[in-house]
Symmetry: C2
């Protein structure tokens, strides 16, 4: 196959690719305490109403609000203390006219009462309560169903579960949840010059950095990295390794050399994996242009450039949203929009060439007024140690020939 190199902008490339990808269709049941970061597979409705009983939100006295009408420091209302209801205790009697029951934050409101006068607005002498401020009905009372009512949607399917979501489920007594299985992502490195990281490279050889970085990106995005080793630059062996990698995987990520001959070899091997084959051959992104995106008999395949820094940038831009999509999360069509995209004020100008999305490593710092500032890191963007010195990447849009100092720019925190 001759390399056509139909280069697409990254958003368009992901959209083309993502349309052919669907979430894994395997779900599993996990205990709530193991569900952090997992993606909910089904809507979870509330099967209870919360709170299940009216609760006080203050220390004070449960009263009939009408009995405090017009009360003030100058003209207090006087009520008779008839009970004290601690938290966790069911009131034994109701609150009648001109009566008050001592209540505590979180305690059940007795029948008859419809408001709480906070203790700071009262004086108590024996069983006489002097009320120094009027309260409205409902004041400082959490009413039944104020948090959620039975039948309402508690947490929606597709939600990557956060602390608050788990809290809401715990409140409802949900102790296990049905989540999507984590997508298994096979990771294959290729290249005659590549050796495992535990090996001592011979002359002209390099260690397999991409297996490590891609696995980290996959894991962070909620996938399970499946290491598949290193294949040589040989058509038959590469194809065999790709087929083995695909076996049992929900996606395959391979990294290959960036030379044209190796890219051709890779694209051909990917094309032979199954239809429709290669969808995108080249992305208008720097670093990372020589990227291949394919769907082969239903399995998404990403061919990353061999250069470790380029591979990592494309892993962030393409593999991360792919894994989130496979994991059952809602992902924007262009693959952007996760919460790790920030805005920052650029400290120095950044030159760029229009026609490609340029990712420049930068440090981030907050100024005294709280504004986030981005400063490009010295060093070539195709070196892994430039990325190590960086906190984030400045994304120079496709249509811009550079960014000006003082401009608010988009930064991506990997």
């Amino acid at each position: 196959m001759h390399e056509l190199f139909t280069v697409l902008p990254p958003g368009e490339a992901f959209a083309t690719f993502g349309r052919g990808c669907s979430p894994v269709d395997r779900s599993e049941i996990v205990p709530l305490e193991a569900a952090l970061g997992r993606v909910l597979a089904v809507d979870v409705p509330a099967h209870e109403t919360l709170p299940a009983f009216a609760r006080s939100t203050m220390d004070g006295y449960a009263v009939r609000a009408a009995d405090t009408n017009g009360a003030s420091e100058q003209s207090p209302a006087y009520l008779r203390l008839v009970d004290d209801v601690p938290t966790g205790v069911v009131p034994l009697r109701s609150v009648g006219p001109r009566e008050a029951v001592r209540t505590h934050t979180g305690a059940m409101i007795p029948p008859g009462a419809d408001a709480v006068v906070m203790v700071e607005d009262t004086n108590q002498t024996g069983d006489e309560i002097e009320v120094l401020a009027a309260v409205a009905p409902g004041e400082d009372v959490l009413v039944i169903g104020e948090d959620i009512v039975a039948g309402a949607l508690a947490v929606p399917a597709g939600r990557r579960l956060r602390a608050a979501d788990l809290g809401g489920l715990a409140a409802l007594g949900v102790t296990q949840v049905t989540v999507w299985a984590q997508p298994r992502v096979a990771i294959l490195s290729t290249g005659d010059e590549v050796v495992p990281i535990g090996a001592v490279p011979g002359p002209a050889q390099v260690r397999d950095v991409n297996a490590t970085t891609v696995a980290a990106v996959v894991a962070q995005a909620g996938g399970i990295p499946v290491p598949c080793g290193i294949a040589p630059d040989d058509a038959a062996q590469l194809e065999a390794a790709l087929r083995a990698a695909r076996d049992g995987a929900d996606a395959v990520v391979l990294s290959a050399g960036s030379s044209v001959s190796v890219r051709d070899l890779t694209a051909q091997a990917v094309a032979r994996l199954g239809p429709p084959g290669v969808l995108v051959h080249g992305i208008a992104i720097k670093p990372g242009k020589p990227t291949v995106l394919a769907i082969c008999s239903g399995t998404p395949v990403v061919g990353l450039p061999g250069n470790p820094a380029s591979a990592l940038v494309v892993a962030w831009r393409i593999v991360r949203p792919l894994v989130r999509l496979l994991a059952g999360e809602r992902v924007d069509a262009d693959g952007l929009g996760d919460e790790r995209e920030l805005s920052a004020v650029l400290d120095v100008p950044v030159p760029s060439r229009p026609g490609r999305e340029d990712f420049r490593p930068c440090t981030l710092a907050r100024s005294a007024d709280g504004a986030l500032h981005a400063t490009p890191v010295f060093g070539a963007s195709n070196l892994i140690f430039t990325l190590i010195r960086a906190d984030a990447l400045i994304a120079v849009p496709l249509d811009r020939s550079g960014l000006a100092a003082g401009e608010t720019v988009r930064v991506i925190v990997p």
Copy 2:
């Protein structure tokens, strides 16, 4: 102990507390593939120089740059092709004057050559290479040590390891790293009205939401949550439960009711755990004011409010930076400054009362121009399901009586 309620702003509260906390002093050795998100305990220097050999960054011809002086389409330079060096192969001969060696992206540059002419700027006829553009010395060559030189700091101690850091370590052949042990954080709930999430609450009882949410915040911050159950509102039993929780823990987080009597009980039990005891009693934050921060015989103790939403907000604001600090990460004195703090444009005004940091649940959305917009979520901020509907929290500063529509505000993505 009488409750003094010396309420401090959150930043000052964390600073007072954090000064008494030190990172865990236990380290462990983990394989590189298990090191994502762990905090490096020692500086890792490069023990090798990378790249170890000069490499081509393009497909083309390795040449002596001087031989291309003045070359152009109109007046090409002519060189003789003497070799082809694929990636992973050691060149057998050097490049002499007016000679060229075919090279490939990532391949070793032969001795004698000091630049690469990319293939697009050449024509080849037999062993004659026509060079259509001059190249400068070093052009399209990655020189020895351009990524890192032996002896330089590769990754600094205190770094929470990211994909790029692991990649740099992999490139150097570092297959295991010394990281700080993850801090063990004991989580204790208290309250006569609180039952485990698997139980059916009786009348006036509620489920223990905080054990779940606090564990999630601890885990996300890099700690190991250690569940310690529920203690009743009884001085002796609470103290015994606190002592048991502290045993083997690097920190204790308890959540207690928010009524004054229960808060007093909790503060007294914490004070008896050891000197110096309670440092902060009350934080100027909404929700979450009734928070206790203590150091007891060297162990940090956080007393959260019992209300689940309040407890979660304080867990984000105080427990998260505490865990990061204990985990060996560098944390700002005020506990802020992690990457989950964003700026957004506020869509509608938010009223607030000066004198406290007000955290308002909001949704986030990106407008067509890429700007992030924050819209407050309808519902009381002390309800857990309000937090579930939210993407983030708008932080209204202490000194502001509300925020205006259109203002750029600080939001915290938990």
